[in-house]
């Protein structure tokens, strides 16, 4: 389980995170939902140690973040974050070189699934192809948790469908997935837990299935309630 407790961060005299607390369980897809600037990406970056925070605690599988824990968690940022001069195959080799839990067979499988050209240069990839390679790099590691920052942002419809298929496959089945999005329509049917963020605070945190059963509301319905209130 990923546990985030009372996470606070100030940036340019603004509370970017103002006591954010939630958990993301293994085997479930948890989605951080919010408008632009709500603090979704900052939470993921804080979990990965990519931005400092003022106070609060983060635990991954019961342990505080450490180099060993980083082997258990894959981060798929909103951009590919690989040097443009690299070729696809070199990016895979770089990941394999640095991660003990890299699964080369899965990488090949995903490469074929997304029809990526191993010889293509990263700088020449389209936004959609870049997003697919980003997924390959993140999902080819045998990790317990996967963090994804806006996996559908700026991607064409066909690529979105292909990426959405990943969420229903065995690739994420037994892992804990924590993702952010402000385009909930794409993800609604896939997510188990929704955490709504607004101005650095958690304003709603619920089980999507239970919400549908108990109150007959979809995630989008709750979203309208929260953000139009």
């Amino acid at each position: 389980m990923i546990e985030v407790q009372e996470l606070r961060k100030r940036y340019r005299r603004r509370d970017v995170l103002d006591g954010v607390s939630f958990t993301a369980d293994k085997g479930r897809i948890t989605c951080l939902i919010g408008m632009n600037g709500a603090g979704k990406s900052t939470v993921l970056k804080a979990i990965m140690g990519l931005v400092p925070y003022r106070s609060g605690t983060i635990r991954i599988g019961g342990e505080p973040p450490s180099p060993a824990v980083m082997e258990k968690i894959a981060f798929i940022p909103d951009r590919l974050m690989m040097p443009g001069g690299m070729r696809v195959r070199e990016a895979l080799a770089w990941m394999q070189e640095h991660y003990a839990r890299w699964n080369p067979a899965r990488a090949e499988e995903l490469l074929a699934f997304f029809r990526l050209d191993p010889a293509a240069r990263i700088a020449q990839l389209s936004r959609g192809t870049e997003a697919k390679l980003n997924l390959v790099l993140g999902l080819s590691r045998d990790t317990d948790y996967v963090l994804m920052d806006e996996p559908f942002s700026g991607i064409d419809m066909l690529s979105r469908e292909q990426i959405a298929d990943v969420f229903t496959s065995e690739l994420v089945e037994r892992r804990g997935v924590l993702l952010t999005t402000h385009e909930i329509a794409e993800m609604e049917r896939l997510i188990d837990q929704a955490v709504f963020l607004d101005q650095g605070r958690v304003v709603r945190d619920f089980d999507c299935e239970r919400m549908r059963e108990d109150e007959g509301k979809s995630v989008v319905d709750v979203m309208r309630e929260v953000y139009r209130a």
């Binding site: 990965m48 931005v51 400092p52 980083m70 951009r79 974050m81 640095h98 991660y99």
Partner: protein, 276 residues
């Protein structure tokens, strides 16, 4: 350890074309400088010998030392250019990872390793670049000497000695000092400078806007600490009435203090405060 070696290899790989370019330029320009100067001096010598003695025998000779002394600018140019590129690459080796929308620093900081590994790998890569170019410089001297010997008739050759050869070029003197203590001192000061700049960059990357000011103040403070005792070194009498050994101790303590604080602060900020 494996992460460290892999990161060093990656840094070397990323800089390989620039390094090869600098090495090639140094080799070609210095050989050209030696060839042109030898040619020029040779024709002057031929002319003077012909005028003086009807080309029966030569009364003056050419030495490789003399040739190097007369190639000052062209010979030093690639060395100075290499130094400039490497100095610019000290901040470059960090900032290139933040460049663009797809900044590689995300991947580097998220690697399952202690972040100090990244810091040491970048320092090691820079040292490798410096010593690779230095090694090439040292290795190219015998080649240049060989070309000189091939061009100048044996009868016109005056002997040269390696220690004298290096002393002929002002830049070479600093780059390859004859005294091992001087060598250690120059390069230790260089490493200290690199580490101070590393820390300044990490300060800036940690605090961004205000970080620029903090970084400038930090560099100024370190420079003052290291530079102030230096003019007193090697003097027997100074305004403060200190013995030479006391001045050396002060200078060394100041440098060690700056070194230790640069490493400590840099690594601490890299671990706790740096931001993508």
């Amino acid at each position: 350890m494996m992460h460290y070696l892999k990161l060093v290899r990656m840094e070397v790989h990323r800089f390989r074309y620039v390094l090869a370019g600098l090495a090639g330029l140094t080799l070609v320009l210095q050989l050209l400088a030696v060839w042109l100067t030898t040619n020029q001096r040779l024709s002057e010598l031929r002319e003077s010998n012909f005028v003086d003695s009807g080309a029966q025998f030569s009364h003056s000779k050419l030495s490789f030392t003399f040739i190097l002394y007369n190639t000052q600018f062209m010979y030093a140019l690639p060395i100075l250019l290499s130094i400039l590129v490497l100095v610019l690459y000290v901040p470059g080796i960090w900032y290139r990872d933040w460049l663009g929308r797809s900044s590689f620093i995300y991947r580097l900081l998220a690697l399952p390793m202690r972040r100090a590994t990244l810091y040491w790998s970048k320092l090691t890569a820079l040292l490798l670049f410096v010593f690779a170019l230095l090694g090439l410089q040292a290795a190219s001297l015998p080649l240049q000497w060989w070309i000189f010997r091939a061009m100048v008739p044996q009868a016109w050759q005056a002997p040269s000695y390696l220690s004298d050869i290096i002393g002929q070029n002002k830049v070479l003197q600093v780059l390859l000092p004859a005294n091992p203590l001087d060598f250690a001192l120059y390069y230790a000061l260089g490493v200290l400078g690199v580490l101070v700049v590393f820390t300044a960059i990490i300060i800036e990357r940690s605090y961004r806007g205000w970080g620029v000011l903090y970084a400038i103040l930090y560099v100024l403070a370190c420079t003052l600490l290291v530079v102030v005792p230096l003019p007193l070194l090697g003097t027997n009498h100074n305004a403060m009435g200190l013995y030479p050994i006391e001045v050396v101790t002060i200078a060394l303590t100041a440098a060690l203090l700056v070194l230790a604080s640069a490493i400590w602060l840099g690594l601490r900020l890299l671990r706790r405060s740096i931001s993508v």
